[in-house]
């Protein structure tokens, strides 16, 4: 009886959230799946509906450009998240030490984190400007570069330069999470290990990393998912160029649906992205669980 009442209360409390989520996410997702099997157009989508089954998917998967966009996105996600995690952990280790200015430095980490993504993208675009940008001027004045060069105009560097901008903004998130986890590690663990003769490297792998692995994995998952959605930084910095070398899947879907007005095939692209994200999420979850049990 009490348990029954509890169940009712539980669902009642959940109702506002469920209603909102069904409205803004559930229904649209189902509608996207529906769209993806039609030839709907952006203008008057219901008038031009025609059922095409899996034709859109076949077309999407056989498109070399789309596969290339998937590759760019994967590269962006793996490299940027990897760098963010490595740098983030290093920064967390640094900030876990005692030194003058530590509080100030920790406060500074908030700056990139709070800077709007679009502002960040714009800032780096100005810095990378081939003629009047600060990067060329700095490197040449320091003697590290012979002559001004193009950063965002060269397919060999463009995506990497975008990644640097992204890493700059997001490594503090990883650093702050790792730092909070580090501060829960008891100091005597280290002392005991030192007495056992464990070196710095050894202590890191045996004590530090296992202790922060949980929160770190969560940060990793979060960042990977975010990285897979990447749109705004690309839109502002390169708009997919040069030679489409920075065109990511979100940008691709945007173009398909809103520039070429093909809502149907845009939806199928979007769902392929969802599927890839889902695989990534699942595999990470699996890794975390495995790590937790070991």
């Amino acid at each position: 009886m009490i348990s029954h009442r509890k169940t009712v209360t539980a669902w009642l409390l959940l109702t506002p959230m469920i209603v909102m989520i069904l409205g803004v996410s559930g229904y649209p997702l189902i509608k996207t799946i529906y769209f993806s099997m039609t030839g709907a157009k952006l203008v008057a989508p219901d008038l031009t509906d025609s059922w095409v089954w899996f034709h859109n998917y076949v077309r999407a998967l056989s498109s070399a450009n789309f596969r290339e966009a998937i590759w760019h996105t994967t590269y962006f996600a793996v490299i940027s998240v990897g760098a963010e995690v490595v740098i983030g952990v290093m920064v967390a280790l640094l900030l876990n030490e005692v030194f003058v200015g530590r509080t100030l430095l920790r406060a500074m980490l908030i700056l990139p984190l709070a800077l709007p993504t679009v502002v960040n993208a714009m800032m780096w675009r100005l810095i990378y400007n081939p003629d009047f940008g600060a990067l060329n001027a700095l490197l040449v004045q320091l003697g590290l570069l012979d002559a001004y060069r193009s950063w965002l105009g060269d397919p060999a560097t463009a995506l990497d330069m975008v990644i640097i901008a992204d890493v700059w903004k997001n490594f503090p998130l990883v650093a702050l999470i790792a730092l909070a986890a580090l501060q829960t590690v008891p100091k005597d663990l280290y002392e005991a290990a030192t007495l056992d003769g464990a070196g710095m490297w050894n202590r890191f792998w045996r004590i530090t990393l296992p202790a922060i692995m949980g929160p770190l994995s969560v940060a990793l998952v979060l960042r990977t998912i975010e990285a897979f959605k990447v749109f705004d930084i690309i839109y502002v910095m390169t708009r997919g160029g040069p030679a489409s070398s920075t065109k990511t899947v979100s940008f691709y879907v945007y173009q398909e649906a809103f520039a070429y007005m093909r809502v149907g095939s845009g939806a199928s692209y979007a769902l392929i992205v969802v599927l890839i994200s889902a695989c990534l999420i699942a595999s990470y979850m699996y890794l975390i669980r495995k790590h937790g049990e070991a």
């Binding site: 203008v43 397919p155 160029g241 040069p242 489409s244 809103f258 070429y260």
Partner: protein, 413 residues
């Protein structure tokens, strides 16, 4: 009795006021681009003039980058959209297909039709119907730095593309400037405009008589080979591959280039000491031709003003468009964008102080080559943009890049 009259008067007064307020309540939302042609200040000043002349109508001016213009027009169709939009010469086919713009054929009288440049009308006309008024009559011109040419021993600017390359080579060899040529060759429509200009000079065609892609042979192929050649020879600024129009203006205005291909708006800005370090040394001529094929070349880069079909203030919108495109207003703001009216080109007020610009325009506007008219233009252009970039970045030969693009576009049709 008196009180009654007073009351009556008051009631009428309120009605009158609310009536006036009602009339004044029409607010137009207008979409423009913040790139080339008229400056933001020009557009805002014209609008202020319009509002002063039409107290009942308020106008909100919205400026977006050219790259966002097409998508904004399409996206705003559904609700709370715009009443006036600026659109490019390449879009009417698509817009007509989806019925995005109001057909205004009946609003344009015979006199207006006669008085406006023929090339300008092609901007707003599709399938015999008019979808607005042309506003910006523009094309790409060849700008040159007189000082640098003189230093290199050239008295006249080039008249053929070969000559342009030769002069640029000489300027580079004399050490006058590292990269004499600068273009807007980023992955955008701007690159297509430069390519179209050269293609037309070299006798190329985008589509053959059957509407199949033909730019991968003849003049179309030669044009891209020429572009890539100038990069290989080191006479084109390699950063051109990431430049848009404004970057070209910056580079040319800071004295880092001897030649630039750009829209007409650059003439007065590059000659303005507040904006430029080469003011007073800027020359302008029509883009060159090709020996035996053409005297000069140009691309139709005109733009028009239209009324989205969902607008609820079409009368007021048309009034605003008529005002902006009127000969009087266009002549007044003729520094960055030349008028669409034939008579303006002999109007002393328009010509004064910018004779070279107007002279070049007379030749160029007459030879403007169109980009292909097709409903899927946006997509075809994106394919071609990528092909141009692949060739310019050396990841593909011009022939291979264009063949592939031609195949993709043929499949699309």
């Amino acid at each position: 009795m008196k009180i009654k009259n007073v009351l009556k008067g008051a009631v009428f007064g309120i009605f009158a006021v609310s009536g006036a307020a009602h009339a004044a309540h029409v607010t137009l939302n207008a979409l423009f681009m913040a790139q080339a042609a008229y400056s933001e200040d020009d557009i805002r000043n014209m609008t202020a003039d319009f509002k002063a002349a039409n107290p009942g109508i308020d106008v909100n001016v919205e400026l977006v980058p050219y790259e966002a213009l097409h998508d904004k027009i399409v996206l705003s169709q559904s609700a709370n959209g715009y009443d006036v939009v600026l659109y490019d010469v390449i879009w009417p086919a698509e817009f007509a297909q989806y019925n995005l713009l109001e057909d205004v054929t009946n609003r344009i009288d015979e006199k207006t039709r006669e008085a406006v440049l023929k090339g300008a009308w092609t901007t707003v006309e599709y399938d015999g119907k008019y979808y607005g008024m042309p506003w910006i009559a523009d094309t790409k011109f060849l700008f040159y730095n007189k000082d640098m040419l003189k230093k290199a021993g050239f008295d006249t600017p080039p008249t053929t593309w070969e000559e342009l390359a030769a002069q640029a080579k000489a300027i580079k060899d004399k050490g006058i400037v590292d990269y004499p040529l600068v273009w807007s060759w980023s992955q955008s429509e701007a690159a297509i405009c430069d390519y179209t200009t050269i293609l037309s000079a070299m006798g190329g065609k985008f589509l053959d008589a059957d509407g199949k892609p033909a730019f991968n042979e003849g003049g179309g192929l030669k044009a891209l080979q020429y572009m890539v050649g100038t990069l290989d020879d080191g006479i084109t600024n390699p950063n051109s591959r990431e430049y848009a129009e404004e970057d070209v203006r910056r580079v040319f205005s800071s004295g880092q280039a001897a030649f630039a291909l750009n829209w007409g708006y650059m003439y007065n800005l590059a000659n303005d000491p507040a904006e430029s370090q080469v003011a007073g040394h800027v020359g302008i001529v029509p883009a060159p031709g090709e020996a035996g094929i053409s005297q000069a070349s140009a691309v139709n880069g005109s733009m028009g003003l239209g009324i989205p079909s969902k607008s609820t203030h079409k009368e007021e919108a048309w009034k605003y468009i008529k005002f902006l495109t009127s000969e009087k207003v266009q002549n007044k703001y003729a520094r960055l964008s030349l008028p669409i009216w034939k008579a303006s080109y002999s109007d002393p007020d328009v010509i004064k102080g910018q004779e070279p610009f107007v002279n070049a325009a007379k030749t160029s506007l007459a030879v403007m080559a169109p980009r292909p008219t097709m409903a899927a233009y946006q997509e075809a252009s994106a394919v071609l943009q990528e092909a141009l970039q692949n060739a310019m970045l050396g990841t593909s030969t011009p022939a291979d890049a264009l063949d592939e693009a031609a195949k993709t576009i043929a499949d699309m049709q």
